[in-house]
């Protein structure tokens, strides 16, 4: 069941909210929590009932392991063994379903073999519930988890607003909320939740889905041959914006749906395209995944490397900063981002995407380290380099996103070549004929014509510009809802620029208030969102 489906919006969500509200009158935590556990598993099973068994087994096994790991009576070496077993089981399950085909492909590519692999349907949300349960086991072994009952555990892992695509929640931020679940029903929660859900729905169905009409055909064309310079840019920018609004919309809907049950989920998305450098970008994009990767992969790797470096320093009494930078920062960053790429998808192109972002991050860290040697006035630097950083970050993200979306590496590299003009620069003839005197000028500087659809270029470009401005200029939904605690870890100070944005009578109107005006706007928006869920596909005039 998708968030942007009639069955979810018109049946499942209202039904669960109403029943949950009625149950809360019983003042029984057991009933409220049990109901949430039941509907969450129903939500998961709706997609494919057979995978309900898979998630149920995963829940039972991990919970049991967690109990043993939390127990003071379990000896240390048993804890280590159980932890290794638990992590291996989770990763094994994930590898089988998600990476089996890819592993076989790598083996075939390396050994020139022809091993066959039957494609298995990837269980929904397996990457999310696997990671969440691994963190639970690690923290259980480290005595960072308080004992919880099984129903609490089910809701922690499978709570339907966050099950499908995050945020990846941490037990310490969820369990306390579940302990008072029966007291969570309130008008404010419903109002905030409904508003966030509607904003998210509009981002998804109006913004993300509209631009996909211009982006998808370019990737299809790329599979058949070379795409033009402008097509490649629309593909890169357009897909970044599509996934941006898709993910932003999804995150808002998840926050909104959870809030209707009084649960505040952690912030997962904070206007990443406003980032002026790639480190900042990753602190805003899929925040809970970045947190997970930092806490459970980067930091342990970096600490281990730092310890080794310190020991070596003591022995050799000489070392260089650059060696430390490479071992303690660059390599852990590259490894972390490599795994991030792998987590996002099973394919070489995802690995390249991850590694590219790793390289961007290492470059950014290196730049920061070198900066004090060259520039002393930090404020002046900020003023001068912020626009440069913004553009560099955007171009880096756009170009890397081509790898994320393309079907394979060959297609992606071809598109990157076109993007940077290596296949020449051309304009559709349909656009060229309208350029008047500029047409000759363009011809003289080597810009040619092509036979791609002029309307695709024109509308695609306009869409990209409009959406990019929306993403960069306007405050995000959390900023708009900032007076009502829209997400965990959200703080006004994070967005200083948006704070300035609101210091104006006109723009302050964008701050949400539970009044009639906002209700009417949201209601109208809700209607538009609902009406976007059904489309009549356009027939492309076939000429044969």
């Amino acid at each position: 069941m998708l968030f942007n489906s009639y069955e979810f919006i018109l049946v499942f969500l209202p039904f669960t909210v109403v029943v949950f509200t009625l149950l809360s009158r019983l003042d029984s935590r057991r009933h409220s929590l049990g109901f949430l556990a039941f509907v969450s598993l129903f939500f998961y099973g709706w997609w494919n009932p057979s995978y309900l068994i898979l998630i149920s087994i995963s829940l039972v096994v991990n919970y049991a392991l967690g109990v043993f790991l939390q127990s003071e009576q379990t000896k240390k070496h048993w804890k280590t063994l159980l932890l290794i077993l638990g992590v291996a089981l989770n990763l094994g399950l994930l590898s089988y379903y998600k990476y089996g085909g890819f592993i076989v492909q790598i083996v075939n590519d390396i050994g020139n073999n022809n091993i066959q692999w039957t494609n298995i349907i990837l269980p929904l949300a397996i990457s999310f519930f696997t990671f969440q349960q691994i963190t639970y086991l690690i923290d259980s072994a480290a005595n960072r988890v308080k004992h919880s009952d099984f129903v609490e555990y089910i809701v922690f892992v499978a709570f339907f607003p966050q099950l499908i695509a995050g945020p990846i929640v941490h037990h310490k931020e969820m369990m306390p909320q579940f302990r008072t679940i029966e007291l969570n029903v309130s008008k404010e929660n419903l109002q905030v939740g409904l508003t966030l859900f509607i904003i998210g729905l509009l981002k998804k169905v109006i913004l993300a889905d509209s631009i996909s009409d211009y982006v998808a055909p370019i990737y299809d064309d790329a599979a058949d041959g070379t795409v033009t310079f402008f097509q490649a840019w629309i593909a890169g920018v357009g897909f970044t914006l599509q996934i941006y609004f898709d993910f932003a919309g999804y995150s808002d809907m998840a926050l909104g749906a959870a809030r209707m049950f009084g649960i505040v989920l952690p912030m997962n998305f904070n206007s990443p395209l406003k980032a002026s450098n790639i480190i900042d970008f990753w602190s805003r994009w899929h925040i809970t995944l970045t947190r997970f990767l930092t806490d459970y992969i980067f930091t342990p790797l970096s600490i281990k490397a730092t310890r080794k470096t310190i020991l070596r320093k003591e022995k050799q009494s000489s070392s260089t900063n650059s060696a430390g930078f490479i071992t303690c920062l660059a390599i852990p960053t590259l490894v972390t981002m490599f795994l991030s790429g792998l987590w996002h998808g099973a394919g070489y192109q995802f690995l390249v995407w991850g590694l590219l972002h790793g390289l961007f991050l290492v470059t950014n860290h290196g730049w920061r380290m070198m900066l004090p040697y060259f520039i002393s006035d930090k404020k002046k630097y900020e003023r001068l380099f912020r626009p440069v950083g913004l553009i560099t970050t955007l171009v880096s993200v756009f170009s890397a996103m081509i790898f994320f979306r393309a079907d394979n590496l060959t297609i992606a590299t071809g598109m990157i070549a076109s993007m940077f003009g290596l296949n020449g620069i051309t304009i559709p003839e349909g656009v060229f004929v309208h350029l008047g005197p500029f047409a000759d000028l363009l011809l003289n500087i080597g810009v040619g014509t092509d036979y791609t659809a002029g309307s695709q270029l024109t509308y695609g470009t306009l869409y990209c510009i409009a959406l990019l401005l929306l993403a960069i200029i306007l405050p995000n939904s959390l900023d708009m809802m900032r007076n009502y605690n829209p997400a965990l870890n959200y703080s006004l100070k994070r967005n200083e620029r948006d704070e300035l944005f609101f210091n104006n009578k006109l723009t302050s109107l964008l701050i949400w208030r539970p009044g009639r005006v906002w209700a009417v706007i949201c209601g109208a928006g809700f209607a538009v969102g609902l009406m976007s869920l059904q489309k009549l596909s356009v027939f492309l005039y076939w000429q044969f």
Binding site: A524, Q543, F544
Partner: protein, 410 residues
């Protein structure tokens, strides 16, 4: 202190009001012409949305029309054959153009079954295009093919039984036509389009609205060139196979016509000479001749076994209309008969109807039979040669188009 309002109640009320308003607006404007409750000249007659969704719109329109003549085919007939043409005998009217762009011969049979299940026509004019019969030898297809999406909204199944899935599809279609942003957008387009009719009541689509702005902006040469180039890169290596689904669907159409006393006329549409030259360059000329021969043999065999007559008209050859000069790249002069090599104008559609029904003897169409097919094919080869010899400038233009792409085997 701000007075507390029932925020959730207001949100739901506003939502319902907007939904209701959109529904009523779309009901009145009816941009796909599927509801037809009111006609407001200059306001809801354009049906701009239907112009982009012809299959969808015509499927519902066909249920509301009782036509003596049904015209089926693909995009060529959709914009080229006017059911209200003066050259269609009055006794054969009213006529409905149920030609659907991109439809296969099987699709056309299914549309015919759909329309016929409500009211059977007396006459059927069917486009049989060469392209619709080409098939990939390496991709064998079953017949009948697995159910296509559009079949959910047809009244009957392939075997003639009632389609039980239709009600659900109808609900979805009506709901999308009333309560979707696409429908609201198309309603506004319909209102703003004023008197420019995209799809008229008899099922004729506007060629001018489809191709007009393109030929106006780019000129005919560019439009011709683009169409030819698109074909060069699409699906090379196709052949004519007597056992392909298209031939089987043609059998079904002939049988259906016979069983329901429908007078069937088969028409090979008039492509522009550049199209024949392209097929020649793509090594398809012999396939074209082979196809004509197979059609005639098949129809003749059916006629003999069923003791009925099914006229087959060939307009797909070189004559003074199909060899109309394509203007030079810089020349924006309008062509009289063609939009581009595949799609002809309504004026040529009238010539086709005149030839079929008045047998004017203008020489633009030939009624094929087993007796004259060999002679006809021989004559067409001569006409082809003549065109080559007498139109060197036009062929130079054509080669310029072809040469740039290196599509085809030499």
């Amino acid at each position: 202190m701000q007075r507390e309002v029932n925020y959730t109640g207001w949100v739901i009320s506003a939502c319902l009001i907007v939904l209701l308003a959109s529904g009523i607006f779309n009901l009145i404007i009816d941009p796909y012409n599927i509801i037809q409750i009111v006609t407001l000249p200059g306001i809801n007659t354009s049906k701009a949305g239907a112009g982009d969704r012809i299959a969808f719109a015509k499927t519902y329109m066909a249920n509301k029309i009782v036509a003596k003549t049904m015209i089926v085919g693909s995009s060529k007939f959709d914009i080229g054959i006017d059911p209200d043409s003066l050259y269609l005998p009055e006794s054969n009217k009213p006529a409905f153009n149920f030609a659907v762009p991109g439809s296969s011969v099987y699709d056309q049979y299914r549309y015919l079954q759909h329309a016929g299940s409500k009211a059977k026509p007396n006459y059927l004019v069917m486009e049989i295009g060469f392209g619709a019969f080409l098939t990939s030898p390496d991709k064998p297809e079953n017949y009948p093919p697995s159910t296509h999406g559009f079949e959910d909204r047809l009244l009957v199944n392939y075997d003639g039984s009632m389609n039980n899935d239709r009600l659900l599809q109808q609900l979805k279609d009506y709901s999308a036509a009333l309560l979707s942003n696409t429908a609201t957008y198309d309603s506004f387009r319909t209102m703003l389009a004023g008197k420019s009719v995209w799809l008229d009541k008899s099922g004729l689509s506007s060629g001018w609205l489809r191709f007009g702005s393109e030929v106006r902006n780019k000129g005919y040469f560019s439009v011709f060139r683009d169409t030819l180039r698109k074909q060069m890169t699409a699906n090379p290596g196709k052949i004519i196979d007597n056992e392909s689904p298209a031939f089987k669907a043609l059998d079904d159409i002939m049988q259906y016509s016979k069983d329901n006393n429908i007078n069937l006329v088969l028409v090979m549409p008039p492509y522009h000479a550049y199209q024949y030259e392209l097929w020649t360059a793509m090594n398809l000329w012999e396939e074209l001749e082979n196809w004509k021969q197979l059609i005639v043999d098949r129809v003749s065999s059916f006629e003999s076994s069923m003791s009925i007559s099914v006229p087959v008209w060939d307009f797909a050859y070189y004559n003074n209309i199909t060899t109309e000069n394509v203007p030079l790249p810089s020349d924006k002069t309008a062509m009289k008969w063609y939009w581009e090599p595949l799609h002809f104008k309504r004026s040529l559609g009238d010539v086709i109807l005149k030839e079929i029904y008045s047998q004017s003897g203008a020489g633009v169409g030939v009624r094929l039979s087993p007796d004259n097919i060999a002679q006809h094919l021989k004559r067409v080869r001569q006409l082809k040669e003549k065109y080559k010899n007498e139109n060197t400038d036009q062929l130079l233009l054509f080669k310029e188009i072809l040469g740039a792409y290196h599509c085809c085997p030499s």
